[in-house]
């Protein structure tokens, strides 16, 4: 990024250079700003005591979603049209006993996530194909809305607006508190089984913001 296009107060500003420098650089910075929000793979059993996460419900009912894990809330960047940056996602799992299991991922506040999952017609919800394998593997899947994204979830402008909250934060290092408006969401992951003889095991997960 060069400032030569505006070298001094007396220099004329060439509109063409200005367009290129400002538009391209600023938009590129904002386009590529997206952060990694979830990167999870615990480790093999040689090194760690638990290589996967499972639902903790004592009495599992078949074909019912149970929460496996959830990220802490994070401020999803919003595009100019109010929609959220998409999240590039991936889920890895296996079945404990050879029966069909599947996984779902929802981008929403934790308390709202069950309703989003139940709606099952939104790109904020991602569902994997079933697996019966006992070996850990990354799974294919798709978002459940009209986008049917195979590697992403998305939050539309109206939904994102409903998740916006004001959070107090210092204005500077020693400043008083001021409210910052943020679209606060979590990545919430669920598992489901077709047979009570197996539980879904979550071996890996990934979610990274992408301007889309």
């Amino acid at each position: 990024m060069a400032t030569a296009a505006y070298a001094a107060a007396t220099c004329p500003v060439d509109p063409d250079i200005t367009r290129d420098v400002i538009c391209n650089n600023l938009d590129h910075y904002a386009d590529s700003f997206g952060q990694v929000r979830w990167a999870f793979s615990p480790g093999v059993s040689t090194f760690v005591t638990k290589s996967y996460l499972t639902p903790r419900t004592a009495d599992v009912v078949v074909n019912t979603w149970y929460q496996i894990t959830a990220s802490a809330p994070f401020p999803l960047p919003l595009r100019a049209d109010g929609s959220g940056y998409k999240l590039r996602v991936r889920l890895g799992g296996a079945s404990s006993g050879g029966h069909a299991v599947k996984f779902a991922l929802v981008i929403a506040p934790v308390a709202v996530a069950p309703a989003v999952l139940a709606a099952s017609n939104t790109d904020a919800s991602f569902e994997t194909a079933t697996t019966t394998s006992a070996s850990a593997a990354w799974l294919t899947g798709a978002s459940q809305g009209i986008g049917a994204y195979t590697t992403m979830v998305a939050l539309d402008a109206a939904t994102a607006a409903g998740y916006v909250r004001n959070v107090d934060t210092p204005v500077d290092l020693s400043g008083a508190a001021s409210a910052v408006s943020q679209c606060l969401v979590s990545v919430v992951v669920y598992g489901s089984t077709a047979n009570t003889g197996s539980v879904p095991r979550l071996y890996g997960g990934f979610a990274a913001e992408w301007v889309g």
């Binding site: 093999v44 994070f74 943020q182």
Partner: protein
């Protein structure tokens, strides 16, 4: 000093708002540029993407975690997120967190007794000074009452509510880019303010991957052959820095030690074919000298941004010297350079 509020949404500068041969005074163009610069600068970076160490912290014990990452100089506070479970449904359990470890303000959390719905908790760490620096980010957790299951850790720099119009925050004063305002070469104002903000912009995707275990109970390997640590390689991808780039440089390091002799930590990626080794010889835990690697970067030609539509997966391996144990408590991958 003036405080410049940030906008909730990003703006998108339109090149059509600036016409060749015409004055660059259109309110829509300059305002969008200033708002865009302020928005991008004020957004906080994610330092530690959420991950699950899947460990149990025994009642009455304290565990310390380390992360290597490069901060951004606009942040004034960090938000830690934790996901706790009780190991026992019936035993009341408290988790007390301090960030930084040992010196941070202690905050105690009552761990809910439900085992079905996990609700993350938040810890706010004030930042001592605004600085871009590679740091050892730490926290500790003490469990009391019963055993504590730690199922989630994350940390991000809190968004700024606004920016100061100084030479650290580089906030651009919006009222100086309105239609009819003169174009001026004054710090934090007008076109010059936008240029200065851009020239000093740091919009890094700071934390790409972290794996951290308590320094008090690290993972170890003595055998003189590599063994992969992860069951599934984790996707990893960094930002695109120029038009033709398909990869970009990032750094990685390990928080490790050996009992004696030497050990090795190796990091591998799939699509970008990285194989990078760090040799550990120190007998006290320390971050090893960071190594540079080139991993896949964003691909704007792809709908989901993956380089050529492919996941670049990261895994890492441990190896002792056959006699002495190598101990590793953390591995971090982060973006060091903004351009």
């Amino acid at each position: 000093m003036t405080y410049v509020p940030r906008s909730l949404r990003r703006s998108e500068g339109a090149s059509a708002g600036l016409l060749v041969g015409a004055p660059v005074a259109a309110a829509t163009s300059w305002s969008e540029f200033a708002l865009g610069a302020n928005w991008t600068r004020s957004k906080g970076a994610c330092l530690v993407p959420h991950f699950s160490p899947t460990i149990t912290i025994g009642a009455g014990t304290t565990r310390t975690f380390h992360f290597r990452v490069k901060t951004r100089n606009v942040a004034v506070s960090r938000i830690w997120g934790f996901l706790f479970r009780r190991a026992s449904v019936t035993t009341a359990t408290t988790a007390t967190v301090r960030a930084p470890a040992s010196t941070g303000a202690a905050v105690a959390y009552t761990v809910p007794n439900t085992r079905d719905l996990l609700v993350p908790v938040i810890y706010i760490e004030p930042v001592a000074s605004k600085a871009t620096a590679t740091v050892d980010l730490t926290f500790d957790i003490a469990a009391a009452g019963g055993d504590l299951e730690l199922e989630g850790i994350s940390c991000y720099e809190q968004d700024r509510a606004g920016l100061l119009n100084d030479t650290t925050d580089f906030g651009v004063m919006i009222d100086t880019v309105r239609s009819g305002e003169p174009i001026a070469a004054i710090e934090n104002q007008s076109a010059y303010g936008v240029f200065r903000s851009l020239a000093n912009l740091d919009a890094r995707r700071s934390g790409l991957y972290h794996w951290s275990y308590p320094a008090e109970s690290p993972i170890t390997r003595t055998t003189n052959s590599y063994l992969a640590v992860l069951e599934l390689g984790v996707p990893v991808q960094t930002q695109k820095l120029n038009t033709s780039a398909t990869t970009a440089a990032v750094k990685w390091s390990a928080y490790a030690k050996v009992a004696a002799g030497s050990g090795k930590v190796r990091l591998r990626t799939s699509a970008s074919s990285v194989s990078s080794e760090i040799t550990v010889t120190g007998t006290s835990f320390a971050w090893q000298t960071a190594a540079d690697i080139s991993i896949n970067c964003d691909d704007f030609a792809e709908d989901d941004g993956r380089q050529a539509g492919t996941w670049d997966e990261l895994n890492w391996d441990l190896q002792g010297d056959g006699t002495n144990a190598l101990s590793v408590a953390a591995v971090s991958v982060w973006v060091d350079s903004a351009d």
